[in-house]
Amino acid sequence: MAIRGIREYDGKKLMAQVLDRFATEPVGINPHYALVTPDTDLDKLPESEPWLKTTKLVVKPDMLFGKRGKNNLLKLNATWDEAAAWIRAKREETVTISGVAGPLTEFLVEPFTPHPEDKEYYVAMRSFRDEDVVYFSLKGGIYVEENWDQVKEIHLPVMVDGKLVDSKTVSFTGQLPVEGAEKALIENFVTALYRFYADQGFAYLEINPFTLADGRVVPLDLVAKMDDTASFEHLDTWGTTLTFPAGFGRTLNADEKKVKDLDAKTGASLKLTVLNPDGRIWPMVAGGGASVIFADTVADLGYMHELGMYGEYSGDPNEEFTYQYACVILDLMTRKHDPKGKALLIGGGIANFTDVAATFKGIIRALTQYADKLREGKVRIYVRRGGPNYKVGLENMRALGGKLELPIEVYGPETHMTNIVPMAIAALQ
C-alpha cells in the first residue's frame, strides 16, 4: 500500500468523469479514450467505441513509462485501421525501456488533436510533507526542462493561519503567467485540476503538454501517481476499474505468480521476486523490515550476484500458507544444482505476535518434503529467529537437521540477526 503509478488511460478517464465537479466553469475534457489490453478484440472495439471510426487517432503504449515519442512508440494522426495495424505489430514486439525488456501489452487510443508546437503548456502537481506544489509553464512539451526557469511554482501549504486548507476553495485566478483570450480558460482548468488532484487521492500529476483546441483544454500526455490507501475514500469515482499495474517489464514468472496468488488468499503477507535463478543464497525471511535487511546484507557483503530472490513472509501466515510458500522457494533453489552448494537462510528478527514454533511447522513440512533434493543440491541451512515460542521452534529445527541428515545451523536472539549471512557466504566459498 503506497503511492503507485496509474495508467494514462485511467488518469484521463477519471479526469473526464470527475474534473468538472471541481470546476467553476465546465472544462469539458474529451471523454473518449480506449484501453487496448491483450484481451481486447480489435475488430470488435469500434462497436463499443464508435468514435474510433470517426476521428483521427493517437496510439501509444500505456504501461507506466514515458518518452514514448523518443522511443518511436507513438502513432499520430492515424485512422482506426492504421491504429489497429500498428497495435497488432507492436503487440508482437519486445522493447527495452531504461534497461528493462518486456512485451508491449497495453495501449491507449484517443482522438488526435492537431496543434501548433507553441501551444503546448505544462502543468504538474506534487505533494510534499507540508505542502502541495503546482508547476505551470507556457513552454510545455519537450521544451519544459530547458525552460525550467520559466516554470511558475505555486506553493499550497497544508495549513494556513493555523487552519487546514480546504482544497475546494483554492483558486489560481490572477496567479498564472498567462494573458489574453486563453487566460480565463487556463486559470479555470488549472484551478479545477488542483482541486481534483487534492480531493481524489493523487500524489503526483503531470500533464505535459496540454493544448487548447476549439476553446477547450486537451490533455495530450498525462502521468499520475495515486495513493492507493485512499481508495476507501473514493469508491464512487475510482470504482473497481482503477488499477495499479506493475511497472513495465515486471511481468511475474510462474513462481512469483504462485506466491502472489497465495498472498491474495491470506490476510498475511507473502512476497517473492526472483532475482537470479542461478543464485546460491536464498533468503526465506519473516517480516518486511528484516527481509530487506537480510537482502541488503547479502548485497553489502558483496554477494548481490549470488542472491536468488527477494521475498518476505509476515503477518502470521498459518502453517499451510507457510508450507506452500516454503515449497516455492525450495523448489526454485533445487532445480539446478551447483557443485559448491547453496545456502538457505531461514531468517527473521524477534517477532511480536507470530508464533515461531507454529510457522516453523510449515517450513519443517516443506524441508522434509524436499530433503532429498536439498541433500543432492548440497544446501546448507541457516536459521535465526526470535519471538513468541521461539525456543520450541528452534529446537524443532535443530532436531530436524539430525532427522533428515541436513546441515542445519540454528541461532536465536543471542546471535546478531544477520550473522547467518556471513556464515553462509563463508561456507559457500
Binding site: 503506497a2 503511492i3 510533507r129 511497472g247 530487506v292 541488503d296 509476515s314 546478531h416 556471513p422
Partner: protein
Amino acid sequence: MTQYQLFSKNTRAIVFNLQVNAVQRMLDFDYVCRREKPSVAAIIDPNAKQGGNHKVFWGTREIIIPIYNTIAQATKRHPDADVLINFASFRSAYGTSMEGLREPTIKTVVIIAEGVPERRARELAAVARQNDKVIIGPATVGGILAGGFKIGNTGGTIENIIESKLHRTGSVGFVSKSGGMSNEAYNIIACNTDGLYEGIAIGGDAYPGSTLLDHLLRYEANPEVKMLACLGEVGGTEEYRIVEAIKEKKLTKPLVCWVTGTIASKMTGEVQFGHAGAKAGASNETAEAKNKALAEAGVIVPNSFDDYGLKLKETFEKLQAAGKIPERVLPDTPPIPADYNALKAKGQVRKGTNFICTITDDTGDEPLYCGIPMSKVVEHDMPLGELIGLLWFKKRLPAWGAQYVELVLRLTADHGPCVSGAHNTIVTARAGKDLMASVASGILTIGPRFGGAVSGAAKQFSEAMRKGQTPLEFVNHMKNVNVNIQGIGHKIKSASNPDVRVTLLKKFAIENFPKTPHLDFALEVEKITLTKRNNLILNVDGAIGILFLDLMASGGELFSEQEKAEIIEFGILDGLFMLGRTIGMVGHFFDQKRLRSGLYRHPMDDVLYDLPEPSELGYDW
C-alpha cells in the same frame, strides 16, 4: 514532565478500540516495572454505547479498566491520561486521531493503523504541530520508555521484554521507521550496551506524524540519554535533516545509524518493499546515498547491518571508558504468572472441564454432528429424521425409522387455533409479545394433558408388555388402579369416524416396519376398550408413542434395554410432539402479526363468576 519527555513511569494512556491483548501486554509490562498505577487509564469502545468495564490481570489478580464510548467521555473522566493509543482502523484513524489532537488533556497520539491516506496523515501532522502535540505513526507498533511506559504491543512478549531488559532503564535513545524491526533493535541494544532508554518506531509511511529527527532531538535534550541509535530506510529525505542537524550542532551525542534498503538500487525495475515510504524516487533517496551523507556528517555508520551491533558496542564502551555511563543495577523483577492459554498451547497445563458434550463439536473447521461433518450432512442430503436420530439418540436410524420421525413431524405440525398450544401462542402474540415469548407460551402448555400422551402411552404400554400382561390383563389392571390408559380415547373421533392421522401411521408402520409388536398389542387393547365406548380408540398420541416403541424394538440391537427405558423416561418422545407442533405455533404467531390482531380479551359473558361471600371467609367487613 519537560518538553523532551513524552513518557514517564506515571504516564497513563487511553486506548482507542478494545485491544484485549495489547492492553494486557501493557499491564504486564507495568507490573514487572513495578509501576504504581496501570498505564491504561481507560479504553474507548465505539461499539459500547453504554460504556462498561474490561477485566485485565494485574500480576496475579484481576482489575477492571473503565470502557467509554467516546474520546471526549474518556478524557473528561481521566484528565491525567495524556497519551491516546489509537487502534482505530485505517478508515477511522483520521477522524479519531483528529479528535484526540483537539482534546486539551491529550499530548501524544499514537496511530497504529496502516493504510491511512497520505493526505490525511499530512493534515494530522500539521494539526499536531500547530497544537504543540506529538503524533507517533501512522503504521507503527508504537514505542517504549524502558522501565516506564510501553505503547501497545511494542516489545513483544513479556519474556522478550525481560530478555531485552526493557523493564529497566538504559542509556540509548533509539528511533526507527520500522516497527517490525524494533524488537530486534532493542535486543541488539541490550546485547551491546547497557540497554535502551527509550525507543520509538515512527512508522513506515511516507509522512509520519513525527520524524526520526524529532525524536533524536528529544533524546539530545534529555540528559538521561547518553547515545543515539537510529535505523533509517530507503526513500524520502528525512535522513538529510539529521545530517543538517548535526552540521548545525543541534545533535551532538554520538549517533549510530544505518539506512536499510541498500538492496533497492541494485535491483532492476521497481520493487515496493513492505513500507509505503520505502521507495527511492530520486538518487539522493537511496539507502547508499543517505548512509554516505550520514557518515560524512560524522554519524557512526556501519559497513552493513551486520556491524550495527558492533558499532553500538564500540560507541558505548567509549562513553563508558570516559565515565559518562552511570552504574546500572538490575532491578528485582516480580515474576509474571504464565498465561493459561499460552501454557495450554504449549501443552504445559491442564484443567478439568465443567461441561461434557457428546453430540456436537464446534471446535474445528466445521461443526460435527455426532462426529459427522456438517458438509457431509449436506452432501449426502441426510434426511431430517436421520439428523434427529443423530442428535437426539446418537443413533443412525434406519431409513424407515428416519421416515417415521418425519412422518410424525408432519402429522403433528399443527392442529388448528383452538388447542391449548396454538391458543396460548395466539393470545400472547396478540398481547404484542415477540416470537420467542409467544411460541414459548404455547410450548409451555405441552405436558400430561396436551401432547404428553405420546410419552405416557409409550410408558404404560411398554411396561405392560415388559410385565408380560395380556391386553385384557392390562386393561383390567389400569381399571383396578384407576388410571386412564394414555393414548386411548378421543373427544370427537370414534370407531365409526376414525382419525385419519392414526390410519396413516398404522399404514406406514405395517408397510415399512419389520415388525410391530407394540402396535399389535395396542390394537388388541383398542378392541377391548371399544366394547366399552365407541370413542375409546387408539388416538394419535398413542399411535406415535407406541410406534416409536416398535421403531426401537425393530432396529435389532440399535437400542439397548436401558436406552429404550431412558428415552421414554427422559420425555424424548414429548420432544417429537414439541418439535412438530412448534412449526404450527410459529405459523400462528406470524398469522396473528400479519392480521394485525389486537389484544385479546376474553368475553365476560363467557365466564361464570362465582365468588364467596366475605363472611364465608370470616370477614365482617
